[in-house]
């Protein structure tokens, strides 16, 4: 696997991780405030449709984006009305929103555009263009000529839709809001113990509605990116379970923003691998896995080392990432050495993983994560419970 392939994989990981990241952060705001939201999927889908439809009709992607956000926020308010005002079951309300969006988008698309429940293909001003950073090349041929650093800049960092950069900026912003502002403190408190917030004289209802609305806006961005950035138009069920994967990522990330970025990149990477390698040889697949393990291990090692340098972590926390890094390196370097005559490699290369397996990977990982193989994830303690003032 050459450097360019890895870069292209990373590049598409980033693009595919973006809708997950936006949806995941949307869920983070809502769930941190104690409102579980399995309607992320439906909100994304509705936003995808309305943004595509209006972007096509007006030929202005920004109008499309705004309408998409409005659609998503409307569904959010519906969820808020059901689960905050009327203290209904949050899961049922979320499921209802998913069904509503799934049916509504296709029906409206069919009556509006008569193209079998899809919108016409978007182009030009109706789509988010690739945003080329200053000094970056955008043509593959030019990029291939550059030195590795230039390649990273042009291929990986440059050339994404503006929404990708916005999504990446929202990660630190979310962290800052949660941990550095009064609103964040109250938001976290209302998800842990709404009674504490209520007795402190702060409105639980208002706070939760604010969180749910932020969730709506972020879901709107995610959906709009799906239809006007990642693809060029709306097709039915185009969210393809991303809302649920985002929820899995949220649990994986233990409801924390930086970890959410990591989790979403992981899912994005699997998605990218599935897209790029249709029928993949086992050897290539293993190489990819080890490459990934090395990457994750290295990043974790650096992050934890920084934490320790700031006096916020234990040295013990370095063990896990170090082992991952070591094992990954051992295999990716050691495999050819163990196998001088190439017999094992040939055998491994004869086993071809079908495309279905690759495409199922993100979902398989979701199941694994949700089954709790990733250690204890403690959700916000008041999550899922409507707040009723006690006597």
């Amino acid at each position: 696997m050459d450097f360019m392939t890895i870069l292209q994989l990373s590049d598409s990981s980033l693009r595919l991780a973006t809708p997950l990241l936006l949806a995941c952060l949307a869920g983070l705001f809502s769930e941190r405030a104690g409102i579980f939201d399995i309607g992320l999927e439906g909100k994304m889908l509705a936003a995808a449709f309305f943004s595509a439809a209006f972007a096509f009709t007006t030929q202005n992607v920004w109008i499309g984006l705004s309408v998409g956000i409005i659609a998503s926020v409307t569904l959010s308010l519906l969820h808020g009305l059901a689960s905050i005002t009327f203290r209904g079951n949050q899961l049922i309300s979320g499921v209802a929103i998913n069904f509503l969006a799934s049916g509504m988008t296709v029906v409206i698309a069919q009556t509006w555009f008569s193209q079998g429940g899809r919108t016409p293909a978007l182009s030009g001003p109706a789509r988010f263009e690739e945003f080329v950073l200053p000094g970056a090349s955008s043509r593959i041929r030019d990029i291939a000529q550059q030195d590795p650093l230039g390649q990273v800049y042009s291929e990986l960092l440059s050339g994404h839709s503006i929404l990708v950069y916005i999504a990446l900026l929202i990660v630190p912003l979310t962290w800052w809001i949660l941990y550095r502002t009064r609103f964040g403190l109250r938001l976290r408190a209302v998800g842990e113990n709404p009674a504490a917030v209520d007795t402190a004289g702060i409105s639980v209802v208002w706070l939760r509605f604010a969180a749910v609305m932020i969730c709506g806006v972020l879901c709107g961005l995610a959906g709009a990116y799906l239809a006007t950035g990642l693809s060029a138009g709306f097709v039915r069920e185009m969210s393809a379970g991303r809302g649920f994967i985002a929820l899995a990522a949220l649990i994986f990330a233990k409801w924390r923003p930086w970890e959410a970025l990591g989790a979403c990149l992981l899912f994005g990477f699997l998605d990218a691998v599935g897209n790029r390698f249709q029928n993949i040889e086992l050897l290539t697949f293993l190489n990819l896995v080890f490459l990934f393990v090395v990457l994750v291990g290295a990043i974790m090692l650096v992050l934890r080392a920084i934490a320790i340098a700031r006096g916020k972590g234990k040295t013990r926390a370095l063990t896990g990432p170090a082992i991952a890094l070591g094992v990954g390196l051992l295999f990716s370097i050691g495999l050819p050495m163990l196998d001088p005559d190439g017999g094992l490699s040939a055998t491994l290369n004869n086993i071809v993983l079908p495309v279905q397996f690759m495409q199922a990977l993100p979902y398989i990982l979701t199941v694994v994560i949700l089954a709790g193989f990733v250690g204890r994830a403690i959700p916000p303690r008041a999550g899922g419970e409507p707040y009723v003032k006690e006597r």
Partner: protein
């Protein structure tokens, strides 16, 4: 005459057909500690909730420091200088102390300046009132007593002049309660007005200046504490004469019923909670286990009740060994062998709150043939049995169809007690039998426990209430840090002695 800090005039509040407060008037002088006593459901909490803006009164006026004040919400109450320390703390458990203190009283949209300012103010307040607690500690790492200090600090940080404390000692150990009273004394010296809601008469007598008694939504009397007696207050509360002392004959112990040897319990986190304790209980005997909460009593009860496995030791019932290692250690088989268990936390372990009373009465005994009708449950029989038990155990209201959560604490406990004790178990395990239960129900439950003993059954009583342990037990064992730090006969000990044992100091041993 000076202006009273709080004056309530003709407060009334109804919840549907239930008149929770009827035309209540109350006046509390500045700098006084005023007690409000009453049974559960007497309307104390409703009255205080109105004062704190949780509910709006149907009629009546609130005057604060001589000014008529309207309190539509908690924010208004805080502005009026009223602070409330709830019975169940309103703290965010995984936040730090300082984060909890500033929640809702931040100085601006940014957190950091608020926190650094609050940390300074907090240290001053802690010093001023003797409320030491680390501002950066996480709440869930603190003891219950310290959590309560945080609640008080929260109110002081908001510059409350009037503090309402709702059942503040319900969750405290005796020494923590003493500390709390010292703090309240200090607050009083600084001119704060304190309203203490409780149903523990001793506290009222010890610390209050004046006391009001509520019964069924009405204020039946307000008297100076110095001019009254516990018996008089109890009578005002319940509306009849109450036996404050448990009335019992000497025990007449028979053969050994429960024999526990070298019992060890290690919790899932790997901490050894019970460190090899041994004891016996004979028929017709009550063994009381005293101790500060968290010294292994809970685990002991749970192992014997079949809720958690033990890691070592033997338990014999009538000489026959009971499996305590895990697989077969379920409450079902325990019950079949004649072990009744009234767990410590009735709302979590004793009852299923959303289920109706009759369903709760059958739990654990649902295999009883009299509840069966062929392969099906005989619901009519269970309901009839429940109605019968409710009558005999004085559960109010005696309605088997009411969900468990709609009963008051005392009546919930009576449902559990009826279920576990009515079958005359050979051994009764009973944890915190009267926690959060009012005086009338306490008297009733105590009588039931004595009756069971007199019928020749063995009782293991675990309680953090020393009065209860001293009054009921025939022998007292004190647990400290997973071991029995000492055993006493009630006639040969006193609260001071037990208190030392609870702290792990065995004076008798030390002297010998």
């Amino acid at each position: 005459m000076t202006v009273p800090a709080i004056e309530l005039k003709g407060i009334s509040k109804a919840f549907g057909p239930v008149q929770a407060n009827k035309d209540i008037s109350l006046s509390v002088a500045k700098g006084a500690i005023h007690g409000i006593v009453g049974e559960n459901g007497a309307g104390k909490s409703t009255l205080m909730s109105i004062l704190y803006g949780f509910y709006k009164a149907d009629a009546g006026e609130i005057w604060i420091n001589g000014k008529k004040t309207s309190i539509p919400d908690s924010q208004a109450a805080i502005r009026a200088g009223i602070g409330m320390v709830h019975q169940h703390f309103k703290l965010v458990e995984n936040f730090t102390v300082v984060e909890n203190v500033i929640l809702g009283a931040e100085d601006g949209a940014m957190l950091r300046p608020s926190i650094s300012k609050a940390r300074k103010v907090l240290l001053d307040l802690e010093h001023e009132y003797g409320l030491e607690v680390n501002p950066d500690a996480i709440i869930e790492d603190l003891s219950v007593g310290h959590q309560q200090r945080v609640e008080i600090l929260k109110q002081l940080y908001r510059e409350a002049d009037i503090l309402i404390l709702d059942e503040p000692t319900g969750v405290l150990t005796p020494s923590e309660a003493d500390q709390l009273f010292r703090i309240l004394g200090r607050l009083k010296e600084e001119g704060k007005t304190i309203i203490l809601i409780t149903h523990k008469l001793r506290e009222i007598m010890d610390i209050t200046d004046t006391v009001s008694v509520m019964r069924r939504g009405e204020m039946t009397a307000t008297v100076k504490t110095a001019e009254t007696s516990p018996a008089e207050i109890a009578e005002l509360m319940v509306g009849r004469k109450v036996l404050l002392q448990v009335d019992k004959t000497p025990a007449n112990p028979g053969e050994v019923v429960l024999d526990v040897q070298n019992l060890r319990v290690v919790d899932p986190a790997g901490v050894e909670r019970v460190k090899g304790i041994s004891f016996q209980i004979r028929a017709g005997e009550i063994l009381g286990i005293a101790g500060v909460a968290g010294n292994g009593q809970t685990e002991l009860l749970e192992v014997l009740g079949g809720m958690i496995p033990a890691q070592g030791g033997t338990v014999k019932l009538h000489g026959e060994e009971i499996d305590i290692t895990g697989s077969a250690s379920d409450g079902q088989s325990r019950r079949q062998r004649g072990i009744g268990h009234v767990p410590e936390d009735r709302q979590v372990e004793g009852l299923i709150m959303p289920y109706e009373a009759w369903e709760n009465v059958a739990f654990g005994y649902h295999h009883d043939p009299k509840y069966q009708s062929g392969p099906l449950m005989n619901n009519a029989a269970i309901k009839a049995d429940c109605a019968d038990k409710m009558e005999r155990y004085d559960v109010r209201p005696p309605n088997p169809r009411l969900p468990a959560r709609n009963f008051s604490g005392g009546n919930q406990q009576k449902i559990v007690v009826a279920r576990e004790m009515d079958r005359m178990p050979e051994l009764l395990l009973i944890g915190q039998p009267t926690r959060g239960v009012d005086i009338g129900a306490i008297e009733f439950i105590h009588k039931q426990i004595i009756a069971l003993r007199d019928a020749g059954k063995a009782v293991l009583l675990v309680s953090v209430e020393l009065d209860e342990i001293m009054g009921l037990s025939d022998r007292i064992a004190v647990m400290f840090d997973g071991v029995i730090s000492g055993e006493r006969l009630p006639s040969e000990t006193n609260e001071g002695d037990l208190g030392l044992l609870m702290a792990g100091v065995n004076e008798a041993k030390g002297a010998a």
